[in-house]
């Protein structure tokens, strides 16, 4: 799919503006902080300075993580964006492209290395194009086949509405190779809250299947399934990994980025 030049520029502008805004705040934060570069999160050890605990992470993941500030060591961000049909619901795909683009921009600005999984050595602009297109990234990658290196930070952006077994097995295989796995689940408000009424015919975006249901009757069951599904994702992660659930609202991306990078 060919992306129009204007659209791509527009996308790049949006992404970079979002990234720049975030970085401004980020730098302010660094200036007022320890003066070293934020590098990574690791588990909090007993006796360490409690000021370094990432309280937001604690609130979101219930884990004691310490923000590591190092100057020299650089992080390699390996990003995968799900572009399956379910991501076309609401603004999920658009949000995912914007969010991933912003992450890449921030990484580049901070001097970290980055790549889209399976699309190595792309320019940032090319990466934007790939994100906008989304097609080549639709297949779920087998991480073992990829050239993952120690210290890589694996960022998977998806709604994760697929069978998790394969993904979890795949992640397990490379768990020791990467420094952190970050799962970013993006959901539409309707998926998050299932605010439907009356009898609705639900069509699948990925198959011809359809279901006719009394939405109010199924709501509780759906929300429970969602919670269970998210529970499985969290369970698949190890200490130091992170799991975020972000609504697919573009205007929320700056705050979501802040949360993602662990900056207040």
């Amino acid at each position: 799919m060919q992306i129009a030049e204007e659209s791509l520029s527009e996308f790049a502008k949006t992404v970079e503006l979002t990234g720049t805004k975030f970085l401004e705040g980020f730098h302010r934060s660094l200036r007022s902080g320890s003066g070293v570069e934020f590098h990574e999160l690791r588990a909090y050890g007993e006796g360490e300075d409690a000021r370094h605990i990432d309280w937001k992470r604690l609130a979101s993941s219930d884990r004691y993580l310490v923000r590591q500030f190092e100057k020299n060591e650089k992080t390699a961000w390996r990003v995968w964006v799900d572009s399956s049909e379910s991501m076309t619901y609401g603004q999920k795909r658009s949000w995912a492209a914007n969010f991933a683009g912003s992450v890449l921009y921030v990484a580049q600005t901070l001097g970290d290395s980055w790549s889209l999984l399976g699309q190595e050595k792309l320019s940032l602009f090319k990466a934007y194009e790939e994100l906008m297109r989304g097609e080549t990234l639709s297949a779920f990658p087998k991480f073992v086949d990829l050239d993952l290196r120690r210290g890589d930070r694996l960022v998977l952006i998806s709604d994760f509405f697929f069978d998790l077994d394969e993904m979890i097995a795949s992640l397990e295989a490379v768990r020791d190779q990467v420094s952190q796995i970050v799962l970013v689940q993006t959901l539409d408000a309707k998926e998050m809250r299932f605010d439907f009424k009356d009898v609705i015919q639900f069509d699948d975006r990925e198959s011809p299947s359809q279901l006719i249901l009394d939405a109010s009757a199924i709501k509780a069951g759906f929300l429970k399934s969602l919670a269970d599904h998210q529970g499985r994702l969290k369970k698949a992660l190890s200490e130091g990994d992170a799991f975020y659930v972000f609504e697919d609202q573009l205007n929320l991306i700056p705050s979501q980025l802040a949360e993602f990078f662990g900056v207040a």
């Binding site: 379910s86 991501m87 076309t88 619901y89 609401g90 999920k92 709604d159 509405f161 697929f162 959901l187 539409d188 309707k190 998926e191 299932f194 439907f196 009424k197 009356d198 009898v199 609705i200 015919q201 639900f202 069509d203 699948d204 975006r205 990925e206 299947s209 279901l211 006719i212 249901l213 009394d214 109010s216 009757a217 199924i218 709501k219 509780a220 069951g221 759906f222 429970k224 399934s225 969602l226 599904h229």
Partner: protein, 816 residues
């Protein structure tokens, strides 16, 4: 099925509404290409079937609901044949006499046919009609029903009779039996006029003319077979050891010898038969076995070889003595030895008139007293008994019932109870059979004035059978005289297609040989009625009429269940918010119900069994006063155990003994109770400082609420103004100037008064105060009552008087 208002059936068209709604819902559905379809599908793996089922169930239920509503409006009914006359009750009199053993044209016993018919009739009775069933023979029998209750609903009777075999008694059915039953009906139904039906094959033993005067509904149980029995007359004669049996009248019969443990077939008895005499035995002349055991069978007790020897003694010959002698000699089982004067000889003797000495050899003595009789026995005051010394009471005459009729007894004796043990008595209590504790001999006493026998001939027909009957028992087993009826046991009965019912056996109605203790007796078959008659009136059919029985009660039940199901289904499928609202509504309604009930119910005040009765009464009085003075409706004190204290919001303890100690489980229970709103009032009845009760309360509370202890209640506390505005504590005596209590979360859980608040208000039955109060007298008593009332009010309302709204008024009152 018919309908009262069939026009409403048009409303069934409304059934299409839920169907249309369902179709409309299907047509109007929104389409959503849902991103979370994967999860939705996963969710539905468990829920789809249920949801579809629920939708279907909902539709079906709505159809049922509507149909039921329409049917209720249309009021369907069925016609049932009901005996209209039975509205005030019914009485079914069933013939239970011998005739019921006959068979109908199909060979079925009339008893069974009658039972089937009565079940039919009962099912035709109005369901709620109450009635009774009586069994008629030559007497009236009432089946016990539910502990003496003899009336029951018709359905109950149907259920009961279905499981029971038919009742047939070995008696003829007579109008006297019917009359007795009608008398019982009048006793039970009083002024009412129940439907009265007599169900019988109408045997000829019933007097048709009399029967038809009874104003009864009569229904005849059709009996085709009329059986006429041939009577048999036998004569027995002893020749040495040989007993000769001669058939005087009747056809030749198959003869059997019935012994207590066996039945020997002897062959046909045509004219005569010679048997070796045995101590015990019966001759059974067999009738037609195909018919039944109660027809044509003949059971004859055979005469025994050994005759009992009895000495009949008198001091001198008198007409009475000679009468007795003659009577005894007529008994073929006795060998009578006559003795006049001298010392009576023999082991069994009949003493007529006074004697000077009881021979020690005598084991059985029967005393007859003449009009001048003197007795060898002593009366209770140890004086020798003679006629002139007898009191009027002793001499008074009385009547005695015997199986042979009523006998006038002219005299009886009072014996020395220290020497004679009474084994059996006449019905007025006079001893009949006694045992001499010294000689261990048994004495039978007949205080007849036998001289009357010569003049009062009317006595003879009853006296002689009485004499023989008792003589037999006396010579046999004297001690079993009165109780054999109850202990009798059927040991042999003629073979029969009809099993003897337990009712028949109990009453020795069934023909056969019975044993009572060590003695035996036979019950002869009662002669079969020789035919049936056709009654002129037969009114059951006339009493039957159609009655409309509505289906509405049943439909109401369906409606109720359907509505409940609809509500349940709605609860399952409505959105969570609405579900919460519905639950809230249910709770509110429930709460309203509870509050309405609370309005009706009093506030419960509990006490423990340690409180003394007077103080409990005082508390009851206070509770009653509170109702007049306040809006509190306090119950009379309920005595509770610790595990039941939840029933009351306030528990008052007053005891001179220790409170507790309680096991940890009970302490936990008390803690729960108090923390969840309960309130304890401790009132020390001793009104002294540092009593055992006060110490134990403090010790226990230290364990119930560790770390807390009773604290002094400030005079500014709300406790002093929950109803009355008080400044001081009060009570029967002022042992303590303070109230103490346990406070938790700004609420008093328990309050301790050391001053005997209840004692100050203790009154006697006349309403006067019993205990004096000191030191301030009457005013102190009033204050004690007020303080107690405040505590009760606090237990019910807690600290509402702390609300700011009350403050100005309280301050105003304080200033005054």
């Amino acid at each position: 099925m018919s309908f009262v208002a069939s026009i409403f059936l048009w409303s069934l068209a409304a059934l299409s509404i839920p169907v249309l709604i369902a179709l409309w819902n299907r047509r109007q559905k929104l389409v959503e290409r849902f991103g979370g379809f994967y999860l939705l599908k996963k969710t539905l793996e468990t829920q789809t079937r249920r949801i579809r089922l629920l939708e279907l169930l909902k539709l079906i239920n709505r159809l049922v609901l509507l149909t039921t509503l329409v049917l209720i409006l249309a009021d369907p009914f069925r016609n049932e044949k009901v005996i209209g006359e039975a509205a005030e009750g019914f009485v079914i009199m069933l013939d239970a006499g011998r005739a019921m053993i006959a068979k109908d044209s199909e060979g079925e016993l009339l008893a069974k046919r009658q039972k089937a018919r009565v079940l039919d009739i009962l099912s035709d009775m109005p369901q709620q009609a109450r009635g009774m069933i009586l069994w008629v023979s030559n007497q009236c029998d009432v089946e016990e029903w539910g502990g003496g209750e003899i009336t029951a609903r018709s359905k109950d009777w149907t259920d009961r009779l279905s499981s029971k075999p038919p009742i047939v008694l070995n008696r003829p059915t007579t109008v006297d039996g019917v009359r007795q039953c009608l008398k019982k009906v009048d006793e039970v139904f009083g002024g009412k006029t129940p439907f009265r039906l007599f169900l019988s094959p109408m045997p000829r033993s019933l007097d048709q003319t009399v029967l038809q005067k009874f104003n009864l509904s009569l229904e005849r149980v059709e009996g085709a077979q009329v059986l006429i029995s041939d009577s048999v007359e036998l004569e027995q004669e002893m020749k040495g050891d040989i007993l000769s049996v001669v058939l005087k009248k009747g056809p030749a019969r198959q003869a059997h010898l019935i012994l207590p443990d066996a039945v020997e077939t002897l062959g046909p008895l045509e004219t005569s038969m010679e048997l070796i005499s045995r101590p015990l035995g019966w001759l059974w002349l067999e009738g037609d076995r195909q018919r039944d055991a109660w027809i044509d069978q003949t059971i004859v007790p055979l005469r025994q070889k050994i005759q009992q020897e009895v000495t009949v003694w008198a001091a001198k010959e008198t007409p009475g003595f000679l009468s007795l002698l003659a009577a005894l000699r007529n008994n073929p089982d006795l060998r009578v030895v006559r003795q006049v004067g001298g010392i009576p000889q023999g082991s069994a003797m009949v003493i007529y008139g006074p004697t000077v000495q009881i021979p020690s050899s005598a084991k059985k003595i029967w005393f007859f007293l003449d009009s001048e009789g003197m007795t060898p026995f002593e009366i209770r005051d140890k004086k020798t008994l003679n006629t002139s010394q007898m009191s009027a009471d002793v001499l008074r005459s009385f009547q005695m019932s015997t199986s042979a009729g009523r006998i006038t007894v002219k005299r009886y004796l009072i014996l020395d109870p220290s020497r004679f043990e009474t084994i059996s008595s006449f019905e007025d209590g006079a001893p009949a059979l006694i045992r001499d504790r010294e000689s261990l001999s048994t004495h039978f006493i007949s205080p007849f004035d036998l001289e009357d026998l010569t003049t009062d001939l009317t006595l003879e027909p009853t006296f002689i059978p009485f004499l023989y009957e008792h003589l037999q028992k006396w010579l046999g087993e004297g001690s079993e005289v009165s109780s054999e009826q109850e202990k009798s046991e059927l040991i042999w009965s003629p073979p029969s297609p009809l099993e003897p019912s337990s009712l028949a056996i109990d009453r020795r109605d069934w023909p056969g040989v019975y044993r009572a203790g060590t003695s035996y007796f036979s019950v002869a078959p009662v002669e079969y009625p020789d035919g049936f008659f056709e009654p002129n009136i037969k009114v059951v059919a006339a009493g039957v009429k159609d009655e409309a029985v509505s289906y509405r009660p049943w439909l109401y039940r369906v409606l109720m269940m359907s509505t409940l199901l609809e509500l349940l289904l709605c609860l399952l499928t409505v959105p969570a918010l609405l579900r919460r609202l519905m639950f809230a509504l249910v709770f509110v309604l429930g709460g309203l119900t509870v509050s309405l009930e609370a309005k009706v119910r009093s506030i419960c005040v509990g006490v423990t069994d340690q409180i003394d009765a007077e103080r409990k009464k005082s508390l009851a009085q206070l509770a009653s006063d509170a109702a007049g003075m306040t809006n509190l409706d306090l119950s009379a004190p309920q005595t509770l155990s610790l595990d039941r204290m939840w029933e009351c919001g306030i528990v008052v303890f007053s005891s001179a003994s220790k409170w507790g100690p309680f096991p940890d489980s009970d302490r936990g229970r008390i803690r729960d109770y108090l923390e969840r709103g309960g309130f304890f009032i401790f009132d020390d009845p001793l009104a002294m400082s540092d009593t055992l009760f006060a110490r134990s309360v403090k010790e226990e509370f230290a364990k119930i609420f560790p770390g807390r202890e009773l604290e002094t209640v400030s005079k500014e506390d709300v406790l002093f103004r929950t109803f009355y505005l008080l400044n001081e504590v009060s009570g029967r005596k002022l042992a303590s100037p303070h109230l103490e209590g346990i406070k938790f979360d700004r609420r008093w859980l328990a309050v301790f008064s050391a001053n005997d608040l209840l004692g100050a208000n203790l009154r006697n039955d006349r309403g006067e105060f019993v205990l004096s109060v000191s030191p301030y007298g009457v005013s102190q008593r009033v204050l004690a009552e007020r303080l107690m009332l405040n505590l009760l009010m606090y237990g019910s309302t807690t600290d509402y008087k702390d609300d700011a709204i009350h403050l100005p008024h309280i301050l105003k009152r304080r200033v005054r």
